[in-house]
């Protein structure tokens, strides 16, 4: 049990310190790396409370895909040289009040939820189905999501699809003058389309692109 507590505190310490470093670090790319460290330690915490499916999905989705794209964008935008100036300079600190507001709201939300969980458990008792503790949590998640909550699950999939289509539409530009390769065209070409035999008259030549 002591070992469990020690490991828990190590992971949560790493998670908190790296979360702070995400905002404090001066180099944007370093911020993303700290964000990745944060994700990894949080997924370790998930695994420690027995939610191994959630932890692994967190690793695959957030660290394996989302953070890669973050990193990709940050590196491509070349903001690496752009230092995080507003944090230090007091001149134009319009970000700080907004940030403070958001963090205060989140703080109170957390207090309400965690306080209710601790002192008034019946306040938050919204679990409509029984959880079978014999199954592994992958199985129990699957049997709940795909039966009782199938409509909500499909709906969230739709939301993601709409977001994806929106992003594609916003960034899509039809460029002219780009040579595109079409396998079907290439394969369906035969001798007649490709070769033409021409009797060339002396000193006249042939027009190619007729």
């Amino acid at each position: 049990m002591i070992a469990h507590a020690i490991v828990f505190y190590i992971f949560s310490l790493i998670a908190i310190v790296s979360a702070i470093m995400v905002t404090v670090s001066k180099n944007t790319v370093n911020s993303v790396f700290f964000l990745i460290l944060d994700f990894i330690s949080i997924s370790c915490l998930f695994i420690m409370i027995g939610a191994e499916f959630l932890g692994m999905i967190m690793l695959i989705v957030y660290v394996g895909a989302v953070a890669v794209l973050f990193l990709f964008v940050v590196m491509m935008l070349n903001v690496a040289q752009q230092k995080n100036e507003w944090f230090n300079s007091s001149g134009r600190s319009s970000h700080i009040p907004v940030g403070l507001l958001v963090s205060i709201i989140i703080f109170f939300e957390l207090i309400i939820v965690i306080g209710g969980w601790k002192y008034k458990p019946d306040l938050l008792d919204s679990i409509a189905i029984e959880i079978n503790t014999d199954l592994t949590n992958t199985q129990s998640l699957g049997s709940v999501i795909y039966t009782d909550y199938i409509h909500l699950f499909q709906l969230s999939g739709m939301v993601l699809l709409v977001a994806m289509i929106g992003a594609i539409v916003l960034t899509f530009r039809q460029r002219s003058g780009v040579k595109r390769q079409s396998y079907f065209k290439q394969i369906s070409r035969d001798r007649k389309d490709g070769i033409e035999l021409v009797d060339v008259e002396n000193n006249k030549g042939v027009k190619i692109d007729a």
Binding site: E52, L59, V68, T138
Partner: protein, 332 residues
């Protein structure tokens, strides 16, 4: 005291697994070069030791004694971390590979997800190395590999779903045991082919080695690396290839199971079968390297997103419908 004993026992088990893996990585590099040379009618490395078997050790020794050069304008911490990340990720994944029914270091519930997660983290070593070098070729290589590995991971994930539909468990030992009657390579043969090609792309092997295409990018993300740090990238890369072969043999070729349950075959110990299957897949990898020219980048992306992803998604629907119709779904 008992805890300490367990601790040392675990360390011993880990070393018992990792040292053979590292030695076989060295051997596999030699095998790769020999197969490559064989196809091209050359001799390949044949000087150091019998059949040139110690060539890789000689190379490693050379790398150890070379000077490590860290570019002045690089981000030093990330530059040094990158090969370490690659190597570590390539080695920790071996923890869940089952070599037989009892011989597995960590028999966890979500083994296949763990493998998938670790192989998807592999891209970080490359991105970190490419970015921290602060040089154009490595950066281009890193960006290419980021896009490539993320794309092919998607189709590998969908292929894994196909297998899981037939198994009904995420545990690697269960996946192997589900193939006792029929290896999944037979009913899911198209998926095996797509898995094999995606594995080539995921490990940046030819014909998908665009992150290190020497004709365009010098050596891609490894350009600025030298000495031991380069060797670590190199070891990590080959350990990843071996891991992908192991994953392929567990998912499709029945892991440690022998092909037929008859006398001469079923006395051969289980780990030998797994090793033979890994070797078979690796020789295919090496042959592909020798005979297929490199893909162009847009062709690579087209193959991943427009051909493999829709095809494997349709196959998921097919597999699920088939299992549902004939009432073969596992677990009920």
């Amino acid at each position: 005291m008992a805890e300490l004993f367990i601790f040392f026992e675990q360390i011993y088990k880990i070393l018992f697994l990792l040292i053979p893996v590292l030695v076989s990585v060295a051997m596999i590099v030699w095998l790769d070069r020999r197969v490559w040379a064989f196809v091209q009618k050359r001799r390949g490395p044949n000087v150091v030791g019998p059949f040139g078997l110690f060539q890789t050790l000689a190379d490693a020794l050379k790398y150890i004694f070379k000077e490590i050069i860290i570019p002045a304008s690089s981000n030093k911490v990330i530059f040094i971390l990158a090969p370490i990340v690659t190597m570590t990720l390539a080695l920790i994944a071996w923890a869940v590979i089952p070599f037989s029914e009892t011989f597995v270091l960590a028999d966890i519930n979500v083994g296949i997800l763990y493998l998938f997660a670790v192989s998807s983290l592999g891209v970080y070593g490359i991105i970190m190395g490419g970015w921290a070098s602060n040089s154009k070729y490595p950066f281009l290589g890193a960006i290419r590999s980021a896009a490539q590995m993320v794309s092919y991971e998607v189709s590998i994930g969908v292929i894994i779903i196909n297998v899981l539909l037939c198994v009904g468990s995420l545990n690697l030992s269960d996946i192997v045991l589900a193939q006792e009657d029929l290896w999944f390579v037979i009913p899911l043969f198209p998926m095996f082919i797509i898995f094999f090609i995606s594995a080539l792309a995921e490990t940046n092997r030819p014909p998908f080695d665009l992150p290190e295409a020497e004709a365009e990018l010098v050596a891609g993300y490894q350009t600025e690396y030298s000495g031991m740090m380069y060797a670590m990238f190199w070891l990590g890369e080959y350990a990843n290839i071996l891991l992908m072969c192991a994953m392929g043999s567990i998912l499709f070729l029945g892991g440690w199971l022998s092909p037929i349950d008859l006398f001469p075959f079923n006395v051969i110990p289980a780990p030998i079968w797994l090793i033979l299957k890994i070797l078979f897949l690796f020789i295919l990898f090496a042959l592909i390297k020798a005979i297929v020219p490199r893909y162009r980048y847009d062709q690579l992306m087209k193959l991943g997103w427009k051909i493999f992803l829709p095809f494997s998604l349709i196959y998921v629907v097919l597999t699920a419908s088939f299992l549902m119709y004939f009432d073969l779904l596992p677990g009920n």
